[in-house]
Amino acid sequence: MNTTQNTQPAGLQAPRAKMQAQDVRVFYGEHQAIKGIDLELMENEVIAFIGPSGCGKSTFLRSFNRMNDTIEGCRLEGRILLDGEDIHAADMDVVMLRARVGMVFQKPNPFPKSIYDNVAYGPRIHGLARGRGDLDDRVEDSLRRAGLWDEVKDRLHAPGTGLSGGQQQRLCIARAIAVSPEVILMDEPCSALDPIATAKVEELIAELSQQYTIAIVTHSMQQAARVSDRTAYFHLGELIEVNATDKVFTHPQNALTEAYITGRFG
């Protein structure tokens, strides 16, 4: 994927693949949802997955931290590597995998706990904090990075479900980064949010990309254009085209991609 090089600031070393999907095929029972996809997620890039509903982009995204394991009758063939290690290998623990590859969902899903406990949940189950003070620091740091600290610092022990939709989604992002993941998967993170909340989350994605590898599924092509370095277009379970975002939107190589981004279907 040498096309990504021009999205990297000059002077940095050549980008390294953080995650690699190799000939990934996903089945729901008899139905094949993903039909053999090869794709790499580069370190510190934001890659957007776009495509019409039902094209498999969410399924593909969920394959990167094995969230599809929770769906009965769902099965994956092919390999997905994280730093060169197969995430389906026998010695790969799914709990550790998900600590390294975090996820933010379509609908904000804060736990029915306090704001503090929501963010502290991940560090607690993974034993990341040394003592109360350390945990406090980690919670504050995560909330700051999610741009939520100033809004909630006076009510950390109020329930997380009492926040507005946009705040809830940023709380979920804070919750995801509190376990210090290396990759963050976002499944249409703004689809339930109003334009102002969306703008805030997009801003946040831009900041987070300096530290994390981010893959984001979106239905909004403007959003893909605004936040991503590369864009991958999916159609009926296949990866049609992946390229630097500005190229995909200005000079799509494939007729299907062009039809989708010009709004002829989808």
Binding site: T70, E72, V95, L97, R98, A99, F105, P112, I125
Partner: protein, 455 residues
């Protein structure tokens, strides 16, 4: 003509009225534009049928209820010389005798024969009168309705209103029954409290309704030993049912594959359908002796019929209440919450323990309360397996008695409702009713509150 025949004919006439309405309104509407006709023909027909059938039915019911009373009063008034004793009981005996005679028995005195003849005559007249009145009511209803009926008549509104009235009437039956039960209990309980002071009942620590050593002729009616027994047995039952039921629910909702769930859930729910007397026999024959033998092995004195036996078996009985209600509630926790926890790297059991269960907790507590109220009202298991010993003690290995068992004891055998010995059953019943009602109200409130949270 007897009432059954009459009812069948009435039904047939109603059906005819429906057909007539259908035909007539179709004909009436044919000459008019669509927007001039208010209701479709079926509504006209239904309205006609209701107007025809309802008055006839009401008259029939009213007459059937009043007829025996009127005939009896009439006869007893006209033949006072036949009455041998007090009007209440002798009247009933006489009426039975007269019925036999009117029906063809031939061992009568002349006086009796004359009276019986009059009875037969009265009944014939009554049957005729009934038929005539029912016919009149139905015909009247039909004619009144038919005259009002025309193309612009708003039959649809009328029918809707009648349907609503019918439904209201049906739900009123349940509500009124509850009210009636409460009122009869309250009045009898007040009778009881005219013998025994409420403070003696509610705070008394001795239950001995047969005789008394304190010189009080009625015996002692302390509620506390019974209430304590009920509580002890129910608590043991909950100690058995909550862990087993909750774990079952968690397994069914979160772990079991679909085919196993489809197979196992009905089997578990069968447990709830077994008659409680069968559980009682099971407790008496199997569980009690087992506990006694096990206690002997350990060198502990365990009675076969004890609070423990009854409690454990009752716990088994209410497992399906706990598991099936909790299962529904756990399943209703949004998948998004599970995804959130799993996506952070929580294990399945961490996810359930720390996210799913806290989210479902209010509903699960509601399920526990419903199961608890079920345990408190349970009777047959404790009758057979608790040992019936109304003592105030805290040893679950000993026999005990409960409120429900005492109600049965006070109401079986010779009872007259003049003394506190049997009236106390109403006070006990009322106490039980209030406790379970309170538990149910709290449980429903808790469950509803939880539902509002997610839907």
């Amino acid at each position: 003509m007897n009432s059954t025949m009459l009812a069948i004919i009435l039904l047939a006439v109603t059906a005819l009225a429906y057909q007539f309405g259908l035909l007539r309104s179709t004909r009436q509407g044919r000459t008019l534009a669509r927007e001039q006709v208010h209701s479709r023909p079926v509504y006209h027909a239904a309205w006609l049928a209701i107007c025809c059938g309802t008055p006839g039915l009401l008259v029939l019911l009213l007459w059937s209820a009043l007829e025996p009373l009127l005939i009896r009063n009439w006869l007893l008034a006209s033949w006072p010389e036949l009455l041998g004793g007090p009007a209440e009981t002798a009247g009933t005996i006489l009426m039975r005798r007269l019925q036999e005679l009117a029906g063809g028995a031939d061992n009568a005195t002349a006086l009796e024969l004359a009276a019986a003849q009059q009875l037969g005559q009265l009944q014939t007249w009554a049957a005729l009168g009934k038929t005539a009145l029912v016919a009149l009511a139905s015909a009247g209803g039909l004619i009144w309705a038919a005259r009002r009926m025309n193309a612009t008549f708003k039959a649809r509104h009328q029918v809707e209103r009648m349907v609503r009235t019918l439904l209201l009437g049906c739900s009123a039956v349940a509500v009124l029954t509850t009210l009636g039960i409460v009122l009869s209990m309250v009045s009898e309980a007040f009778n009881f409290f005219s013998f025994i002071r409420p403070s003696e009942f509610f705070f008394g620590t001795k239950w001995n309704p047969a005789f008394s050593s304190t010189g009080n002729t009625h015996g002692e009616y302390g509620l506390l030993p019974l209430l304590w027994g009920t509580l002890m047995v129910s608590l043991i039952a909950m100690l058995v049912a909550i862990p087993l039921g909750l774990m079952t629910a968690i397994y069914m909702a979160e772990y079991a594959p679909a085919w196993f769930r489809d197979m196992a859930k009905p089997v578990i729910e069968i447990l709830a359908g077994i008659p409680t007397i069968v559980y009682g026999i099971f407790a008496l024959m199997a569980v009690g002796p087992f506990f006694a033998a096990a206690g002997e092995l350990l060198g502990i004195q365990v009675r076969a019929t004890s609070a423990l036996t009854a409690g454990v078996v009752m716990g088994l009985m209410i497992i399906p209440f706990v598991s099936s209600l909790s299962d529904d509630i756990i399943t209703r926790v949004p998948q998004a919450l599970r995804d959130g926890a799993l996506g952070l790297g929580a294990t399945r059991s961490e996810c359930i323990r720390q996210v799913v269960l806290p989210a479902a907790l209010p509903g699960i507590v509601g399920a526990f309360l419903l199961a608890f109220s079920r345990a408190i009202g349970e009777t047959m298991i404790v009758v057979l397996a608790a040992g019936n010993s109304p003592q105030l003690h805290a040893n679950p290995l000993e026999a005990i008695s409960t409120v429900t068992v005492s109600i049965i004891n006070q109401l079986t055998g010779d009872t007259d409702f003049a003394g506190p010995q049997s009236l106390v059953a109403f006070a006990l019943g009322l106490t039980l009713f209030v406790i379970t009602l309170a538990l149910n109200v709290i449980a429903l409130y808790v469950v509803r509150k939880y539902r509002e949270h997610y839907e």
